[in-house]
């Protein structure tokens, strides 16, 4: 699978250049203990004028998806059958709660139809299809911590069976007050506002975040950014760098200690984005950027109680392959390999 386009919207802005800019600047404390995208960042007028009634979740998804789509510069003929696979852990939960507000405040007969139609998980990609005018297969899936990984498995299946040649594969999750309450009840919110990705603790710190990432992946050459392999395909054991997707959201992170001897260098960039169950998509984009630029970026938070070899320099470097690893709550490993060729 070749990555031909990348789109991202996160708390510091839109686009892969903004991501590089943030990696160069390093860690920034969140304002209120969580990373939320400010309304000024929902700033793509061309996109948003066609979705004035949409909720923030749909806007978030559309901005990142269109960013990746434009970046890939597909031919008009490839657009028609473009596939879309979108993964979300919790969907547009603030919109769902807004709909419940309607029911509680005004009664079930007086709730807003617009709010209801946006509370459905796949409303967001419906906007994306409308904006792109693609008519190919479009799927929304939800698998909590495995959402993005399972989306890539499906993308690989579609490319293998030639259901489509090009697919927008993305992930998004949204911050919300109720979700913050749930995180506080079930996990450990970081008192200092800092995710510590290398603590590898049983009860790691969490800083809720939100954002969206889309990749345009293709079965066709040439390779614009890099290649992606998943799961059992990742036979290459030697990689230049291992990005661990540790942000506290899956609970126990002790599983990552077993990786210590297996890779020459480790990194994690979750403190840039905040904690999300779909964070693997964000970690992956960072790896893609490194391969494209042939450059390592210093990790934003360097606390390293287990003395693992950390990537703590921003420098030009020949990088051939990067592994991106996440464990689910039961300790099952999900591994994605990025390679230059």
């Amino acid at each position: 699978m070749n990555v031909k386009g990348v789109g991202i919207l996160f708390n510091r802005g839109k686009g892969i250049e903004k991501l590089e800019n943030s990696l160069l600047k390093g860690f920034a404390l969140p304002e209120n203990g969580y990373y939320k995208i400010s309304q000024e960042l929902f700033c793509d007028e061309l996109i948003l004028k066609n979705m004035r009634r949409a909720d923030d979740f749909s806007k978030l998804v559309a901005i990142a998806a269109i960013d990746a789509f434009k970046d890939a510069q597909l031919d008009e003929t490839d657009k028609e059958d473009l596939g879309i696979i979108f993964a979300t852990s919790f969907g547009p939960h603030p919109t769902t709660f807004k709909f419940l507000d309607d029911i509680i405040s005004f009664g079930e007969k007086e709730a807003s139809p617009t709010t209801f139609s946006h509370s459905v998980h796949n409303a967001a990609v419906s906007y994306v299809s409308n904006l792109i005018q693609n008519r190919g297969p479009t799927i929304t899936i939800t698998q909590f911590v495995e959402s993005f990984y399972q989306a890539l498995i499906l993308a690989k299946s579609w490319l293998t069976e030639k259901r489509c040649k090009n697919i927008l594969v993305g992930a998004a999750d949204q911050y919300g007050e109720v979700m913050n309450y749930i995180c506080n009840k079930k996990l450990k919110l970081a008192k200092d506002g800092k995710i510590k990705p290398f603590s590898f603790k049983k009860n790691p710190d969490v800083v809720p975040g939100e954002g969206a990432v889309f990749l345009l992946i293709s079965s066709e050459e040439p390779v614009k950014y890099c290649k992606i392999e998943i799961g059992s395909d990742t036979k290459k054991d030697f990689v230049d760098l291992c990005i661990v997707d540790t942000d506290g959201m899956s609970g126990n992170e002790e599983f990552y200690l077993s990786l210590k001897e297996k890779y020459p260098l480790f990194a994690s960039y979750t403190p840039i984005f905040g904690s999300m169950l779909t964070s693997m998509a964000f970690s992956l984009v960072t790896g893609i950027l490194m391969l494209k630029n042939q450059k390592t970026y210093s990790v934003p938070v360097e606390e390293n109680p287990h003395n693992i070899p950390l990537c703590n320099k921003t420098e030009s470097k020949g990088i051939n392959s990067i592994a991106c690893i996440k464990y689910n709550c039961e300790g099952k490993q999900m591994k994605i390999l990025l390679s230059k060729q």
Partner: protein
């Protein structure tokens, strides 16, 4: 037979027209309709719904309980428990409700005091359908919960097919499940697409849909695995098509071009022609727009004499479960050699110009089609066959 051919080795069903296959067939024969005012929760909406008489509770979200009932039937028929350690078994289930954190009692409490018991959140987190079913049976293949609105069940089976074709696993448990819930009840009421009487799919005087609940599950596998396991299935999944309208958030594209595209893709995968289709289990929700679009497409692609039916009159619209339930009904039609009357239909709608089955009809051919349309402009089609 040519093209794709993946044996169906197990089916499971639970809906308002029966908690298993036998009860379902009896409902079809006796033209039984269980639609009545909702009793599962308090509601001021006085439209009929189709509830399941669920006899076992596993203390999960109701959607997962429904799914497990159907999965158990399918797993038993497919004898999967005996071989689960030998094969990569994937689970792909469509839903709408189980994908959302929408417990109104939790939220009412949170709104009131800023605090709420977390047990309903835990129930939601433990009820991701694909994850929960994988764990329940200790399966080790890919897992995917599809949230593609009302085509989710059909798309879950389509994803299962894709996994098998791409060698992601050997066997897949797939279908859909959904419970009756206050959010879609209020939502569809607010959209003005619910009928205050029992639904009448494709009828001139149709007033809208009735909501329902249930689960429909099938087990599909690679043919070589099925042979190795000595499973003597005579029924197959042959093709899947999925397209997007790129038109409107809640309404289908009126010219039906999206649905046509999905059906043509499924036919292409199965390597058959429209005239090979013996009957269509339509989405047939009984809304003005859906039935008109589907009717137009059926007429254009299959001509004016194609046998088609909507089973929503027996089950209500079960949302994410519908595609799974109707896949099972389609296979049952091929297996039993007959399809039931499209209950609720009385008067032909001249703007559609087609009428669904008025009475039990014999199935003559090999192939059948099941269609689903959904919010977001999704159109999905599956083709099934018998030997």
């Amino acid at each position: 037979m040519s093209g794709l051919k993946f044996p169906v080795t197990g089916i499971g069903i639970i809906s308002a027209c029966g908690n298993n296959i036998n009860e379902t067939l009896i409902s079809f024969q006796s033209l039984k309709r269980n639609g009545k005012k909702v009793s599962l929760f308090d509601s001021k909406i006085d439209c009929p719904v189709f509830e399941v008489n669920l006899k076992t509770s596993y203390k999960n979200m109701r959607t997962l309980d429904l799914a497990l009932e159907a999965v158990k039937q399918a797993v038993e028929e497919s004898k999967l428990l005996e071989v689960r350690e030998n094969y990569r078994i994937g689970v792909c289930i469509g839903t709408t409700i189980a994908s959302q954190l929408n417990d109104i009692n939790f939220y009412r409490e949170y709104r009131k005091s800023g605090e709420a018991p977390i047990d309903s959140v835990n129930r939601y987190l433990n009820s991701n359908l694909a994850d929960a079913i994988s764990k329940y049976y200790n399966f080790d293949g890919p897992k995917c919960t599809v949230a593609n609105a009302c085509s989710s069940g059909t798309d879950a089976i389509g994803i299962g097919l894709s996994w098998l074709k791409a060698d992601m696993c050997d066997i897949v448990i797939c279908g859909g499940a959904d419970e009756l819930n206050i959010v879609p009840l209020s939502g569809f009421f607010s959209l003005g697409v619910m009928s205050d009487e029992l639904c009448k799919p494709f009828d001139k005087n149709r007033k809208g849909l009735n909501l329902g609940e249930g689960a429909g599950i099938i087990v599909i596998e690679k043919e070589e695995i099925s042979k190795k396991r000595n499973m003597k299935s005579k029924f197959y999944v042959n093709g899947y098509g999925l397209s997007c309208d790129a038109y409107h958030l809640t309404a289908p594209r009126p010219d039906g071009s999206g649905l046509s595209k999905a059906i043509l893709k499924a036919l292409e995968e199965a390597e058959i022609k429209p005239e090979d289709i013996s009957f269509i289990n339509a989405h047939g929700t009984s809304t003005i727009d859906n039935d008109k679009t589907e009717g137009l497409v059926f007429k254009n692609l299959f001509g004016g004499k194609i046998d088609f039916l909507s089973t929503k009159g027996y089950t209500g619209h079960t949302l994410g479960a519908a595609g799974g339930i109707e896949a099972v009904f389609t296979i049952l039609g091929l297996k039993e050699g007959w399809i039931p009357a499209s209950i609720g239909f009385e008067n032909i709608d001249e703007t559609i110009g087609l009428e669904p089955t008025r009475e039990r009809r014999e199935v003559k051919g090999k192939y059948a089609l099941s269609t689903s349309l959904a919010f977001g402009g999704n159109n999905s089609a599956l083709i099934f066959s018998r030997e």
